[in-house]
Symmetry: none
Subunit: 242 residues, 4 copies
């Protein structure tokens, strides 16, 4: 196909009249920052538009590069998302597990920590976005969702369940509480609230302070696990409303 090729290679450089400012390179090399930049951009756009609705060119534009560059660092669109998920995966749950393993004190305190750090901390922008992506994933890309779920969700729930069981063993929590359900419901509740409020505009219709929600959720969580105090006399009545 022998295309024409007008650009001469190695033109003997014309002596510049006055050594002009180096002509502002069209682009710069940032081999180390690029992947992170791309990931960040992808995260933002995915969270805002949803995975399917996001075009590669959106991400590229958001990262200030062209489409091709994305493919230099990532195999394809899915890979971006997966990498995003892995980042959360590995650090998040494992870190929490480590945290719990080393910490002493009452189980309730540990549970509080896990909920805060793992599912509720609204201070870290990246992590919040990430959570949103997780959720959108289910709708937009179920096949990816499945891959992501195992570590981040199931393992997280397992960790919490373990804590609760430990609390039951020490008598801190009531033995008849369904720890597995508790682990799932409180975390899911918090997640969905974050999703709706994070980028879906629920705050406009239903303003709610995030800090309060997290604090109250933990409060409710722990209260729901409190040992039932059997007031001997009132036994029958108690059973009813519990």
């Amino acid at each position: 196909m022998v295309k024409k090729h007008s650009t001469p290679r190695r033109e003997p450089r014309r002596v510049p009249p006055r050594a002009p400012a180096p002509p502002a390179p069209k682009w710069t090399r940032r081999p180390d920052e690029r992947p992170r930049e791309l990931l960040n951009a992808a995260l933002r756009v995915f969270a805002a538009r949803g995975y399917s609705a996001t075009r590669l060119s959106d991400i590229a534009a958001a990262a200030g590069v062209t489409k091709g560059t994305i493919y230099y660092y990532f195999k394809n669109k899915d890979a971006l998302l997966l990498r995003l998920a892995e980042a959360a995966d590995q650090s998040e749950v494992d870190r929490l597990a480590a945290l719990v393993a080393t910490s002493t004190g009452p189980v309730s305190a540990q549970l509080r920590t896990v909920m805060r750090k793992g599912f509720a901390d609204p201070t870290d922008e990246t992590r919040r976005l990430l959570r949103i992506v997780y959720l959108a994933l289910h709708t937009d890309a179920p096949h990816l969702f499945a891959k992501v779920v195992q570590h981040a969700l199931v393992d997280g729930w397992a960790l919490i369940t373990t804590l609760i069981e430990r609390g039951k063993a020490t008598g801190e929590f009531r033995a008849d509480a369904d720890g597995e359900t508790a682990a799932r419901i409180f975390t899911s509740g918090l997640l969905l609230q974050h999703l709706w409020r994070g980028s879906m505009g629920l705050d406009a219709q239903d303003p709610f302070d995030r800090e309060r929600m997290v604090d109250s959720t933990i409060d409710l969580f722990l209260h729901s696990l409190r040992p039932t105090v059997r007031v001997r006399a009132a036994r029958g009545h108690r059973r009813t409303h519990t």
Copy 2:
């Protein structure tokens, strides 16, 4: 007009021009039902694959028709989602409110009822699947999404909050519980679990009995609102976890 009808679906024989009415004709599907059939199909597939990932041909196949037919009844793909959402918008909350208004008995029982009927009934396939709307709609029709959210969610939470406040007033629930958060967290938790589980994916990796989850959630809900009983013998850090 039995002229061309190249792909008859469940029409065992062409009706002869003048035949006597067949004794017990298999309920001929009336054309009026088509839209509903299509919506049902759409609902199932949207729930299973997500809105974006669903092809019109998937829906058509699920409904036993061809793509073209969908366009006879709906303007386009979005219209299907919209129509679905409108159905969800049917003031289910009002029904619940009415239910509560007429019922007597302890608040905890009412709360239990509301949770069951409004957010947790896993037997009603339609309602469960419809929840997909809560995620997909935001991207594809923010306007409608806001409306649905208001009607189904915010109003629902208000209803529950009211109940909790009533419980506090009667002393059934502890006064320091954050009723507004409770209303949001437990419902959201249940909803998200249903969303994730409604259409394969999570269930494969984290099987969980639906009934148990609902029952346990209500149990946790009520426990989390129980009045705090001060146990005389304060064992050091006990205060913390209550």
Copy 3:
């Protein structure tokens, strides 16, 4: 994403002033002809441009449809080529084998027939093009070439080899001829000549009558297999130039 949608559905048709000629449909349905048309177009374009250099849009244009239509009938570009090849596969070699099986007479006559019908008949445009595609395939799409080769080439050679062996058995051919090589060389020679002359412009530089080439090739083929006549006296000398 709820796109605008200006096209009204079922506009009550404006009464035309004078019943104008039906407004020349933008396209017509040709479900039966299309596949063949597409295949023909593909064959022509592949032969002219080569497989890789051919864009789907070229084929579409050549067939008078749009790109999308191709995908209605074929899975992808490769599938077009494969289908083209299959067409030749099945018919060609099997037909030749059948032809040989039923024919009587001297082996040399059968061989002549096989060469003519199978590798040399220049009268059928489609088959000629097909052969060209075969050859180009090796350069353009080795992965497809491999798939195609088995039936068309290897089996074809096997057929010819069988014939030659039969000829040896009857004494028609010399026993020391390498039938397997002969099968490959004469057919390949004819093929490559056809390729070069068919669409690669060799005729301009080296004009050659096709009929003559085929006839002469068969003549050479048969001569090369002729029994060696041992003239007892001249044995030594004969060996040299043979």
Copy 4:
């Protein structure tokens, strides 16, 4: 200038500023050899994958450099092919002609030599691979293709034809053989077999010893030109196959 040289290839140690000449320095690859290396690599990959299917990065990898380097030595991908073709254009035929001119002995021996040296030597990797040019070049540089064809093919055929005619004159070959066709068919057959076999593909499905193929081809060639000996006892249809 041992400044930046981030990917030294086979340069075991940086030469120290003032060291005595190392006793036997592994032949440092001189930069002059780069182009040749690249061409060799290109040749191999083109032959294996086909021109279009070959990515510059494939060639670069095969040559042990990176893509950018190729552009330092060649204008573009086409240029590689062109340069390859030019190499093929080096009048090999002239050499053969000279060879023939000086040789004595029977024509059949000369013919054997020409076939061996010119079209069949499977030990010379470069020349064998170069044949890919005969197919790819046509699409990508018809102009050059024509030139190569003239030089390598048409002239080659002329040479062989001349030999055959000479053989006819001396009575070594039968007078009624079509020498021009013979020249074309046997060379083309051998070439196409080499092309197909040179780069995997055919060999996998139809293994064949190269030496045998060449030897047998020459054998067939000479046999096909043998004078016809009329065997007295005409056994019916014998005439046909001669």
